[in-house]
């Protein structure tokens, strides 16, 4: 049983083995109990409960106070491409555009101020670059995921 998950460090290849009723990975064991409850026995002998949920392609996992998530990559699909632009983290309104097309900016420079969830959010350059396109003006409503501006 092999699965590929996407992570910040690149694709993670996971190969499960089975030991009687248990799934095994790196010495950790997992057993399913009634109605999908997953009981883990860690390599160090401790037991804990895992909660899981899949939302879209992403598996969310909680155990011992920690929450992790990984996108599952369908076998055969190519990895997700990095987008070049800066996208709106949530629906909101553009309050201010702090740069103009053609500006050269340093990583960390403020580019745009967005209002969402009754708070102001400052969109900051993630790297040095040049602003090539600005897709919205002050006062515009933006949908979640909309590309706000392009940085090259």
């Amino acid at each position: 049983m092999q699965h590929t998950f996407a992570s910040k460090e690149g694709p993670l290849e996971v190969t499960l083995s089975k030991n009687a009723e248990a799934f095994v990975l790196e010495g950790h064991e997992l057993r399913q109990h009634n109605r999908g409850r997953l009981h883990l026995t860690l390599r160090d002998g401790r037991t804990c409960l895992a909660h899981t949920a899949k939302v879209g392609d992403v598996w969310w996992v909680h155990l011992n106070g920690r929450t992790y998530k990984w996108e599952r990559v369908e076998p055969g699909s190519t990895g997700a491409e990095d987008e070049g632009g800066l996208v709106a983290p949530m629906p909101g309104k553009v309050l201010e555009v702090l740069v103009s097309e053609g500006d050269t900016v340093e990583a960390g420079a403020p580019l745009m101020v967005l209002e969402a969830m009754k708070m102001e959010h400052r969109i900051v350059a993630s790297s040095d670059g040049t602003v090539t396109n600005i897709h919205f003006n002050a006062g515009d409503q933006v949908a979640q995921g909309a590309t706000l501006l392009d940085l090259e």
Partner: protein
């Protein structure tokens, strides 16, 4: 019930226990929300925006009249500190569950409040207000005042609250941008751009005193809460009693709070906020003329049901609580839908799994439950987790267990940040101040590494995929198959002013 979310749930439950039939109001995007299930009747409001719904005074008063309601509880936020709403409610022949419009007005305007407090002999922080409306003139006047107040300083909206329209400024170079931002937020949030400037007292504790006053002339205090742990002036971690408080200081601050309340003929539940400087001096910050988010910690250590007392006081009964009797220690943390590891950016998504911790000494005041969606329509505070134990040490232990067992999947929350906070030295020692979080994580917070758990979590994800748990119920609940955005924040780095 002129409110929504967790505070509406809290108050509607109290109404049901007291035997008062209740009416909820809700915007169409709140139809089916948890709080609507706790009322005996629900009125759907017309309108789309918050201004057209939860802030529409006439529509809310009409809903009360139409359903035969006799009183309105405003909760906190929304219309709770609008003097003209208190007036309108009373003019409509309804009981207003709160202090008089005059008291709200005197305390709501920060500058009037400072003057009233000075007259009542309550110490206030040195500062100045700027009344100018015109943008350019206002900014000039503010800049001028800033030189008299001195740095570091704090810009605050005169009508403000909840950290909105508030900015800390450490050097003159940052002043202009901060002032413009504060004014803009203040206008947007409160329709009032007046700003005042206050000296920023670094290393201070935020200590607030809960007061109760009935219509029979009795005004009492219920001891203090310490709410020093704040992020951008939003409280995060609140406790009672204050870990460094002593009975003499409690009595002095309690008496100052009672004097503040009596100075405006206060009726109902209110909170007088103070800054407690490292010198032991305390200064009046402001009075919140309503129930507060963090009222549960006071309830747990005093044994007083503050909301039930509000209901009693509003109908003219004497309050039922006797002498102050503090016992044990209570801590509250605020659960936000936000990505603490990514500059605390608000997050949205489905609450595919939402399993609060259980067991003795744990209280959850929530406005959401499993299966709900977190949307950008309202405040990202989902719930408050409160624990009580015989001692502060045990309360922290209980909070750690509670946070470890709190499972929320599908929406990123600040649970792990709160859990990490419980291990921070100033929190363990009780030496927290209003700058603790900035000092602990000057470059932002990241979860501590736990490679063993991460491996085990990967095993769980791979096993769940193999078992096909997403195609059937997991842990008794169907995993959400919502295809909406999962982590909209991965492609862009973000920092905050």
């Amino acid at each position: 019930m002129a409110n929504r979310g967790e505070i509406a749930c809290r108050i509607l439950r109290a109404c049901r226990e007291a035997g008062h039939p209740s009416v909820a109001i809700c915007a169409s995007n709140d139809a089916g929300s948890m709080f609507t299930e706790m009322a005996d009747q629900v009125v759907l409001l017309n309108g789309e925006t918050i201004a057209e719904t939860y802030l529409d005074q006439q529509q809310i008063i009409q809903a009360a009249k139409d359903t035969g309601a006799t009183a309105i509880h405003p909760g906190f936020g929304f219309l709770s500190e609008r003097a003209e709403f208190a007036n309108a409610v009373q003019s409509a022949g309804l009981t207003w569950i709160g202090p008089s419009a005059l008291a709200i007005e005197k305390m709501g305007d920060k500058m009037t409040a400072r003057q009233t407090m000075r007259a009542a002999g309550v110490p206030v922080i040195p500062g100045e207000e700027v009344e100018e409306v015109d943008e350019t003139k206002a900014l000039d006047a503010l800049r001028e005042a800033s030189t008299r107040v001195g740095y570091p300083l704090l810009l605050k909206a005169s009508s403000g609250g909840g950290g909105k329209g508030m900015r800390a400024v450490h050097a003159p170079a940052d002043f202009d941008q901060a002032a413009a931002g504060a004014r803009r937020e203040a206008v947007a949030a409160f329709g009032d751009g007046r700003i005042y400037i206050e000296r920023l007292l670094s290393g201070s504790k935020h200590i607030e005193i809960q007061v109760l006053a009935d219509q029979h002339g009795r005004t009492i205090h219920l001891g203090e809460r310490e709410c020093s742990v704040q992020r951008r002036h939003q409280k995060v971690f609140e406790e009672a009693p204050g870990p460094t408080m002593n009975p003499e200081l409690r009595e002095a601050m309690g008496q100052a709070a009672v004097a503040a309340a009596e100075a405006v003929n206060y009726v109902g539940a209110g909170t007088v906020e103070f800054l407690l400087a490292p010198t032991g001096e305390f200064f009046f910050l402001e009075m919140n003329t309503r129930i507060q988010v963090e009222h549960p910690v006071t309830e747990l250590v005093t044994g007083v049901d503050i909301v039930r007392e509000q209901l009693r006081i509003a109908v003219g009964e004497p309050m039922s609580c006797g002498d102050l009797m503090l016992r044990g220690h209570a801590i509250e943390v605020r659960l936000y839908a936000e990505d603490a590891a990514n500059g605390f950016l608000p997050s949205i998504g489905p609450l595919a799994v939402f399993r609060p911790p259980e067991g003795p000494g744990i209280r959850l005041d929530t406005g959401v439950r499993e299966g709900d969606d977190v949307t950008p329509n309202y405040d990202p505070m989902l719930a408050k987790l409160i624990v009580w134990a015989p001692s502060r040490h045990e309360a922290l232990q209980k909070m750690r267990r509670a946070l470890d067992e709190f499972v929320v999947l599908g929406t990123t929350t600040n649970i792990e940040f709160l859990r990490d906070l419980c291990d921070a030295t100033p929190v363990v020692n009780g030496s927290t101040t209003t700058t603790t979080i900035d000092e602990l994580w000057p470059n932002g917070w990241n979860p501590p590494s736990a490679p063993l758990l991460e491996e085990a979590a990967l095993l769980a994800a791979a096993s769940a995929e193999t078992l096909g748990l997403h195609r059937r119920q997991t842990n008794g609940v169907a995993a959400s198959t919502n295809d909406g955005p999962v982590s909209p924040f991965t492609t862009v780095q973000r920092r905050f002013p």
